[in-house]
C-alpha cells in the first residue's frame, strides 16, 4: 500500500527561498504532517515546521497545501491521488521565519487590543448563572484553535500588507463578537470594533468561514451580527435595539 509521492516544499527564510523537490514514501492512513516528519527524519533534518498535538487541537501546523490554507495534521494523504504533486508552502499573509514557519506575532498584537471580559463588579465567583442556550453562541467562537488560517486567507490583509495596521482580521472580529454575546459581560465594544479593529474592511466574502478547521461560521454568526449591532448603535446611539442580542446596554470599552 505504500507508494512514493512527489512533494514540493518551500525552503528558505525572510530573505527568499524556493520550492524544493522531494520523493518520499507514503503509507496508508497518513497525513501531510507525517510526510513532513518523514522528510525530517530521512532527507532533510533541518526542515522547519511547527506542530504540537497532531490531532487538530492546537492550531500550530497551519500551512498552504496546493495553495489552500490547511492544518497539515488534518490533511489526509488519501485526499490526493498517488500521481499528484503536493506543494506545501508557508502561510502567505505572515512573514516567513524559515521554511514552513511564519511570524504570527501580528495576531498576538491584535489580541491585546481587544478589551477584556468584564463581569458585573458585584457578582461573586460561584454565583454566575447562565443558561446553556445563552452561552452557546459565544461557545461557538471559543472553539477557535488560533490556527490563523482565516487570517491567512482574508484578502484584506493577504493582498494589502498596509491594512494590517488598521484591520485585525476575522479571528479577532469573532473574538469581539464572542465577548459581545457573553451573557454576563458589561462592556460595549462596538466603537472599538470599528475604530481599532477595522470592522468596516470586511466585505463578507466568507473565505474565512470556508477554511476554518473548526467549522466556525465566522461570517454568518460572528461578523454579520456584529456589523448589524454597530449599525443599530450608529443610528440610535442612546438606546441599543439589540434585536439579536439578549443583553441591555453596555458601557463603552476603556482604552487598552
Amino acid at each position: 500500500m505504500a507508494y512514493t509521492a512527489h512533494f514540493k516544499v518551500w525552503r528558505g527564510d525572510g530573505s527568499g527561498g524556493a520550492l524544493q523537490d522531494f520523493d518520499v514514501e507514503v503509507n496508508e492512513g497518513e497525513v501531510v504532517l507525517d510526510i513532513i516528519h518523514r522528510l525530517q527524519a530521512t532527507q532533510t533534518p533541518d526542515l522547519a515546521v511547527r506542530w504540537n498535538c497532531k490531532a487538530g487541537k492546537c492550531g500550530s501546523c497551519s500551512a498552504e497545501i496546493n495553495g489552500r490554507p490547511r492544518l497539515m495534521c488534518m490533511t489526509r494523504m488519501s485526499t490526493f491521488t498517488e500521481e499528484q504533486t503536493i506543494a506545501v508552502t508557508p502561510m502567505r499573509t505572515f512573514p516567513v521565519i524559515r521554511d514552513l514557519v511564519t511570524d504570527v506575532s501580528y495576531n498576538y498584537e491584535k489580541a491585546r487590543m481587544v478589551p477584556s471580559f468584564a463581569p458585573p463588579a458585584d457578582l461573586a465567583p460561584g454565583d454566575y448563572r447562565m443558561a446553556q442556550v445563552d452561552v452557546e453562541r459565544s461557545q461557538e467562537f471559543r472553539k477557535c484553535i488560533e490556527c490563523f488560517l482565516c487570517q491567512d486567507v482574508c484578502h484584506v490583509i493577504r493582498d494589502h500588507e498596509p491594512n494590517k495596521e488598521s484591520y485585525s482580521g476575522p479571528r479577532f472580529l469573532i473574538r469581539l463578537a464572542e465577548l459581545d454575546m457573553h451573557p454576563l459581560d458589561t462592556v460595549d465594544r462596538r466603537d472599538v470594533a470599528v475604530e481599532d479593529h477595522g470592522l468596516g474592511f470586511c466585505n463578507i466574502t466568507k473565505c474565512c468561514t470556508e477554511v476554518c478547521p473548526e467549522g466556525i461560521k465566522i461570517t454568518d454568526n460572528g461578523i454579520i451580527p456584529l456589523k448589524e449591532r454597530v449599525v443599530d448603535k450608529r443610528y440610535d446611539p442612546v438606546f441599543s435595539v439589540g434585536s439579536l442580542f439578549r443583553k441591555g446596554q453596555k458601557r463603552s470599552a476603556p482604552p487598552t
Binding site: P45, A55, K57, G126
Partner: protein
C-alpha cells in the same frame, strides 16, 4: 554521558557571555500550560515581575489537548458531592500512594479555582439551573468534571491566556508598556537551571528556537511547569513537547523526583491508522454511555473488577445501564473503573486473542446513544474519527487500545507551596510528583494545575519577600558550560542521527518498560539505555542554529534519556503491582511497598535511587475511610488504633 551535572567540556567555550541576551525578573515560569499560566497570574498579582518561557507559541501548550474536564466537587449535579468524597476518590485512584496533603488541598480548593475561571471569562457547559455542568468520569463517585463539550483544555488555556492579556492591559494603562510586569517568551527552550554559589536558584539558560541564540534569565525564583515525558514512548497521546525537560532540569540542578515508576497508560487511544496510533479517545465516551466489547461482542470489563473495587461497581449489564439515569440505586459500569484497571483489562483481552482487527478492542457509543446526541456531546471525537480514520462513530464502534498518557512521577515538592528541595525552585502540574500517587484520576490533572499553580505563585512571592532583596547571583562559568553543552552536536559531522536514537529509545521504553513489566525485560532496557547514552554523546546535527528541529531533538534527548532511566530503575526496584506500575513477576499490591517512595537523583555518576518513607496520613483524613477499606492498602501498624 550527556554532560551531567554541568561537567565542563574539554573544548574551550564558544560563547562570550557578554554577547548573551540577558533578562532579569523576580519569577521565571518555565511552561505556559495551565499550571504555568495560573502560577504566572498569581505571581504577577503578588506584584512580582514575571516571565513565562515556553517551547511553543503562547496558547498552544499541551493543556490545549485535554478533553474531558476539570474535577471539582461543586456539587452542581449531585448535591452529595463534597471535598471529602473527592479526596477519598483521589486516594483510592492513586492506591494510597498519593501525597495526602496535596490530595486534600486539591479537593478543597478545586471548586474555587474553577469558579475563578468564570470571572476570567470561561464559558462552561451549564446545568438546567444555569450552574456549571458536571460529568461522570472513571473513579469519581459523583458527576464532578466541569467541562466544555470535549474541549475543556482549550477553554482552560484560552481563558488563562486571555486573563494574562487583561493583566497586560492593566499594566499598559499604568505604565504605557504591556510587558512591564508579565512577558511571554514563546518558542524559547530552557536547557539548564542556574544556581548561585550557595546552591540557591538564580535563573535559567536556554535558546530561542527561531534563531538558536542563547538567552539567560536571572531570577531568584524559578517555577517549573513543563508537563510530562510521554515522548519517550512510541505509542503516546502526548505531543513533541513532552520530553521530560523539567524533570531532568530539576534533577540536574540537584532536585529530586518521586514516583517515576508510575506511568499512566490511558486505556483508550486510537489504534488505527498507524500514523495516529496513540491519539487519545476521551474517557467521556465511556462516562456518557460508551461500552467496551471484545471480538466476541462481550462487555468484558465485568470479568475484571478487582477485589478492592467489587462493592462499588455493577455486577450486571442491566444494573450498569440503569446507573446512567438512576445513580442513587445502581452501581456504576465497570468501564468506569480507574484507568490502570481498564488499560490492563484491554491488554489481557488482546493478548488472549479477543482483540479487534487492528489490535485493540471495540469502544461503542453508536448503539448506545442517538446520533445527534453523540455529535453534540462528543464533537471532537466525532470529528477526529471521521477525519483521521474514516469511521463514523455514530454508526460504528471505534477501535481503541492503551496509550502512554501521563506520568504520575515528578519533582518532589512541599505540598503547600510547591517548593522543590533546591531553594527558589518550584514545580507544578504534570512535572510535579506526589498528588496522584500511583495512578491519576481523569480530570484531576486540570484541577491540579490550577490549585498548585496558584500556590506556587504565592510560594515564590513569599520566598522572594523573605530574601529581602539579596538575590542570588548566577555564576558565569556555569553559563559557559551550558552553552558548550548546547553546541556540542555541531562539533563534528557524520555522528549519530538524533531521529534514529529517538526512535530506538521509544521502541525500548514501549516494549520493555511499558504497561506490563518484568525484571528481565527492564534489565535489558537498562542495558539498551546505557548504549543509547554512549551513542547520544556522539550525536551530530546538520545545518545551522536557526529553527533547526534536528538540533532541538538532539538537546531534548539528554532529558528523555535521564527520565527514561529513572523510570526503568525505579520500576525495576519496586517489586509489586500498583496503579501505573504492573509487574508480571510481582502481580500483587504490597502494603509494605506502599510505605516507600523511590526518590531519583542525578549526579556525576548518573541516576541514583533511594528509598524514602511516605509521610503517614493525618488521623482526621484516615477517619474518612472505613477500616475494612484501609485494610486493603495499609499494614496492620498503620491502621487507626494500631489495627484493632
Amino acid at each position: 554521558m550527556v554532560g551531567l551535572a554541568a561537567k565542563p567540556y574539554e573544548r574551550t567555550t564558544t560563547v562570550v557571555t557578554a554577547e548573551l541576551e540577558r533578562h532579569t525578573y523576580d519569577v521565571v515560569v518555565i511552561g505556559a500550560g495551565g499550571a504555568g499560566l495560573r502560577a504566572a497570574i498569581e505571581a504577577r498579582s503578588q506584584g512580582k515581575r514575571t516571565a513565562i518561557v515556553c517551547k511553543s507559541l503562547f496558547g498552544k501548550a499541551h493543556t490545549v489537548m485535554a478533553e474531558g474536564g476539570i474535577a471539582a466537587s461543586m456539587g452542581n449535579v449531585n448535591e452529595h458531592d463534597n471535598w471529602q468524597v473527592h479526596f477519598r476518590d483521589t486516594m483510592r485512584g492513586g492506591k494510597f500512594m498519593n501525597s495526602w496533603r496535596m490530595a486534600e488541598l486539591h479537593a478543597k480548593e478545586a471548586p474555587q479555582r474553577v469558579w475563578e475561571l468564570e470571572t476570567y471569562g470561561a464559558l462552561f457547559d451549564r446545568t438546567p439551573e444555569g450552574k456549571i455542568s458536571q460529568r461522570n468520569f472513571g473513579g469519581h463517585e459523583y458527576p464532578r468534571l466541569a467541562h466544555v463539550g470535549d474541549r475543556t483544555g482549550l477553554e482552560l488555556i484560552r481563558t488563562l491566556q486571555q486573563k494574562i492579556v487583561s493583566l497586560q492591559q492593566e499594566d499598559f494603562r499604568a505604565s504605557g508598556d504591556y510587558e512591564s510586569h508579565i512577558k511571554v517568551f514563546a518558542e524559547c527552550t530552557m536547557t539548564r537551571l542556574l544556581k548561585d554559589k550557595s546552591g540557591a536558584m538564580a535563573g535559567a539558560f536556554g535558546y530561542w528556537r527561531e534563531t538558536g541564540r542563547f538567552v539567560v534569565f536571572e531570577a531568584p525564583a524559578v517555577i517549573l511547569a513543563t508537563g510530562g515525558i510521554g515522548k519517550s514512548f512510541k505509542v503516546t497521546s502526548n505531543s513533541w513537547e513532552y520530553t521530560g525537560d523539567g524533570h531532568a532540569l530539576a534533577m540536574l540542578a540537584g532536585g529530586t523526583t518521586i514516583n517515576m515508576e508510575f506511568i499512566q497508560f490511558h486505556p483508550t487511544g486510537m489504534v488505527w491508522p498507524p500514523s495516529v496510533k496513540g491519539i487519545l479517545v476521551t474517557e467521556s465516551v465511556r462516562g456518557d454511555g460508551g461500552v467496551l466489547r471484545n471480538s466476541e461482542g462481550k462487555r468484558f470489563m465485568f470479568d475484571y473488577i478487582p477485589a478492592v473495587f467489587k462493592d462499588q461497581y455493577a455486577k450486571s449489564e442491566d444494573e450498569a445501564d440503569r446507573w446512567y439515569t438512576d445513580p442513587e440505586h445502581n452501581k456504576r459500569p465497570p468501564e468506569l473503573l480507574p484507568r490502570d484497571e481498564v488499560a490492563r483489562s484491554i491488554n489481557s483481552e488482546v493478548k488472549a486473542g479477543r482483540g479487534s482487527p487492528h489490535g485493540g478492542v471495540f469502544l461503542d457509543v453508536s448503539t448506545r446513544l442517538p446520533a445527534e446526541v453523540i455529535r453534540k456531546k462528543l464533537p471532537s471525537m466525532y470529528h477526529q474519527f471521521m477525519e483521521l480514520a474514516d469511521v463514523d462513530i455514530t454508526a460504528a464502534p471505534m477501535e481503541v487500545g492503551p496509550t502512554c498518557h501521563y506520568v504520575m512521577g515528578g519533582v518532589e515538592v512541599d505540598p503547600d507551596t510547591a517548593a522543590a528541595v533546591v531553594p527558589g525552585l518550584f514545580a507544578i502540574g504534570e512535572v510535579s510528583g506526589g498528588m496522584h500517587g500511583s495512578n491519576r484520576l481523569g480530570g484531576n490533572s486540570l484541577g491540579d494545575l490550577l490549585v498548585f499553580g496558584r500556590r506556587a505563585g504565592l510560594g515564590a512571592a513569599d520566598y522572594i519577600d523573605k530574601l529581602g532583596g539579596a538575590h542570588p547571583k548566577v555564576v558565569d562559568q556555569i553559563i559557559d558550560a551550558a552553552a558548550a553543552e548546547a553546541l556540542a552536536p555541531f562539533r563534528e559531522e557524520g555522528g549519530e542521527n538524533p531521529y534514529t536514537l529517538h526512535m530506538e529509545l521509544q521502541q525500548t521504553m514501549n516494549d520493555l518498560v511499558g504497561i506490563i513489566r518484568t525484571e528481565s525485560e527492564m534489565t535489558e532496557a537498562l542495558g539498551r539505555l546505557e548504549a543509547l547514552k554512549v551513542r547520544a554523546a556522539n550525536i551530530t546535527v546538520e545545518g545551522h542554529r536557526q529553527f533547526n528541529p534536528g538540533w532541538h531533538l538532539a538537546l531534548d534527548l539528554r532529558n528523555m534519556l535521564i527520565v527514561s532511566e529513572c523510570v526503568a530503575r525505579a520500576a525495576l526496584l519496586r517489586q509489586e503491582s500498583r496503579g501505573g506500575h504492573t509487574r508480571d513477576d510481582f502481580p500483587q499490591m504490597s502494603a509494605e511497598w506502599r510505605k516507600v517512595n523511590l526518590v531519583c537523583r542525578v549526579d556525576e555518576n548518573g541516576v541514583s535511587i533511594a528509598r524514602q518513607p511516605l509521610v503517614p496520613m493525618r488521623p482526621d483524613l484516615l477517619d474518612l475511610f472505613e477500616v475494612d477499606e484501609l485494610e486493603k492498602y495499609l499494614t496492620e501498624d498503620e491502621l487507626p488504633g494500631g489495627g484493632h
